[in-house]
Symmetry: C2
Subunit: 461 residues, 2 copies
């Protein structure tokens, strides 16, 4: 499955996170003191990404204070609010935000994403997450995370309800005939009357159908449930892959699962994460990478790693490998695939705890790559041609400088090689990714054999 | 309680609603076809209001499709998203949005308002509503509206949780010491460990304390529970008052209740609604008013009125007064005070159903006033001097033209009379209203006898 013969441009997403994906990025002299809450900082990032003609930008999220406030900037702006603020200073780039299906109500979330899609002229995307972690659960009246399987069942029903609500207005519902006084056509706005296991929602939505119909649906979990969820509902997948072989296997697996749900495998775009650390020379890049790792405070990082592994911190020795006796993926609830990835990374590369902390500090399980712009472009091209990706989720270690370097040095190389657009050709997020606008399953008659309409068909069960 | 001797400038809020508060405004040739979802229309309104140096703008909301889509524009943007988009095109005006305590989780809503306050540089306000109506309930898994009293108990606890979350970061929590690697001071960020009747929330919030500490707290219900809620928590009150006598009585009642909760009555600003219909001459204004009423489709309006009165539509005759046999306020759940106001208005002025429909079509129970700019300024001054108001909630019948007329013709008269600011002197919403930034009740030691710290004291139970 190589791509040399049939080379289409690839897709690039900028994953924006405070002052960078490396947890010590804030300690560099160049970094703003508290970038997570700094709207001017984020607006600058959005403008840089759009200057590079990137498909989209992306914001992660969980409804909980994540990480140790003593150790790094953890205060941040709520993503649908932040997306809206970024929409105001950009004109083309797609705007994707994470939101939880476990801790939101479908009516509320459907309204917000429909509103962002209207305000941005069709640039909204929703990264659907089920939210692992007892800390988040305890902000919503629960004692612990709901079970993995329950979270995914609720997520599936949530997406079902949300898409029905987005489809509760036909695209042609609004007539606005001033003469007769008829505003919308009565039979083109419908209640949805959803009655399910987790939700009862009457509808209709109080927002008319938006430019894209509804936001691009994105998914980022890589567990078995996560991959099936992606194959069924998602139009784009962000994934953490450490090796080319694993990335190819994941890519093929998700595309096959997508086809098995009766969907066109081209209708789902797979974007592995890459944490580029770019220097004028390879030595410069490696020096920056080392400097960032040096700035991690190991005593905090060790505690965080022990927490992730569900073992007491004193079982970890900074200068030895992970102990043998740690839980298996089956024994933990939540973030299962990321857990396994971390343990396998440590075992495969025989990393000491200190080395593992450095790798996780940079990309939290995503692949870090330190080198020149040419080398970063080479590795992107190599993975793309090998059939490991439809594009990449760019996670600069330091922001804004890492994004500027990527946009100003790596993107031109990809453009020269015919691998990336030089101008936007579409206006909506789905147009950037070459995906069709979804049909309306409450009002449009669709041919169920067509197989390229995303949710409308995937959900016709 | 007249104000002639001690005349301070009054406060003005622009209540933005689609293409105007009159339900037939959309049928005028000048109106955009679907203003409720049109971000450019709203951004234009926000700029006009700021040009007039108004204190704030306000967006109503309910998580349900309100009104008949066949009859008027009902699609609209979610308010926290819309506020954020309006923050981007303005620099000073306050930004107030309604959000429901019955159909949100405190953690989620606290994050969004804190984020809007950050993004806008301290201009956010939250109009706290409990949301009446079975239609809304049926979007959230319920069969009917929760009982009035339950809704208010939940609302009180909701505000308690939200303010704790907003206070979970001390103002000086973030140190951002790059040298030592300490970002926030560990003892200046705290869990809130709330355990109540309706909510269990651990915290802390994942957004640091915002420029205003937290959004201005606004309230708009006028039932007994509503007035007590306002007296206890609110810093501004929007209210519908038809006569000067009733407005004075309401004003004094709320100020006294506020004092009874140990708060400074100056710490709560009362703004009755006024629906100005402005013309070059009084005859012009009255003609526009009549034209708008003529554009209401009476068969739809009769059905809506019957629904509000909980009687079958065939019991209403367009050319007769309301029937004697309709429910009392005690017999209904939700929107109690507005119900009584409508019935009393009809009885007092001996309105036919058709006339009542015209009055409600214009202001939904708020006071409509058709006249010249001078006459509108006179009535504002008269009510203000009589001690009926600290300011006014301006609800133009037609938008943007009604707001433009108010800003360009009425505001200069009020400025000439020394009744309204000619320039902004503050930057935050609370500064515009002359209200103090709230102290932090988790971190600040406050003198409970000071009596001007809003929630911090009101809630010290």
């Amino acid at each position: 499955m190589t791509r040399k013969a049939d080379r289409k441009p690839l897709h690039l997403n900028a994953f924006l996170m405070s002052v960078g994906h490396h947890e010590a990025a804030w300690r560099l002299p160049e970094s703003p003191a508290d970038g997570g809450t700094d709207i001017a900082h984020y607006q600058n990032l959005a403008r840089i990404a759009e200057r590079g003609r990137l498909d989209s930008l992306f914001l992660a999220d969980s409804p909980v204070l994540q990480g140790d406030p003593g150790r790094r900037p953890v205060s941040k702006l709520e993503p649908t609010v932040l997306l809206t603020a970024l929409a105001g200073v950009t004109t083309h780039i797609g705007l994707i935000a994470t939101a939880s299906t476990s801790y939101n109500e479908p009516y509320n979330l459907a309204r917000r994403f429909a509103s962002v899609d209207h305000v941005s002229g069709g640039r909204a995307g929703w990264n659907i997450v089920t939210t692992a972690g007892a800390d988040a659960a305890r902000n919503f009246g629960l004692d612990d995370t709901p079970l993995h399987r329950d979270r995914y069942l609720r997520a599936a029903e949530f997406v079902d309800v949300a898409t029905k609500l987005w489809d509760s207005w036909a695209d042609d519902a609004v007539l606005a005939d001033k003469e007769s006084g008829v505003h919308a056509l009565a039979d083109r706005v419908r209640k949805v009357h959803h009655q399910g296991e987790y939700f009862r929602v009457d509808g209709p939505l109080n927002v008319r159908r938006s430019p894209q119909g509804y936001p691009l649906l994105v998914q980022a979990g890589s567990s078995e449930d996560g991959k099936d969820f992606a194959a069924r509902y998602a139009e784009a997948v962000f994934t953490a892959q450490q090796t080319l072989e694993e990335a190819i296997a994941f890519y093929q697996d998700v595309k096959q699962r997508t086809a098995a749900f009766g969907r066109d495998p081209e209708g789902i775009k797979i974007l592995p994460g890459i944490v580029p650390v770019i220097g004028d020379t390879e030595a410069d890049a490696l020096a920056l990478d080392a400097e960032l790792d040096r700035l991690i405070r190991p005593e905090y990082a060790k505690r965080q790693l022990a927490n992730r592994l569900r073992i007491p911190p004193d079982q970890l020795d900074l200068d030895r490998e992970l102990p043998e006796d740690i839980p298996t993926e089956d024994e933990i609830e939540g973030a299962k695939s990321r857990y396994t990835l971390v343990v396998e990374l440590a075992r495969r590369e025989k990393l000491t705890v200190r080395q593992l902390i450095g790798r996780l500090g940079g990309g939290r399980g995503h692949r870090t790559f330190a080198g020149t712009a040419e080398q970063v472009a080479d590795t992107i091209e190599h993975w793309y041609d090998a059939g490991a990706a439809d594009g990449f989720n760019i996670m600069p270690a330091v922001l804004p400088s890492g994004l500027e370097l990527f946009v100003d040095r790596v993107v031109p190389i990809l453009q020269e090689r015919g691998l990336f657009r030089t101008e936007y050709t579409g206006r909506t997020l789905r147009e950037h990714y070459g995906l069709p606008r979804p049909s309306n399953r409450l009002f449009d008659t669709v041919d169920a054999s067509a197989g390229h309409l995303g949710i409308a068909l995937a959900d016709a069960r």
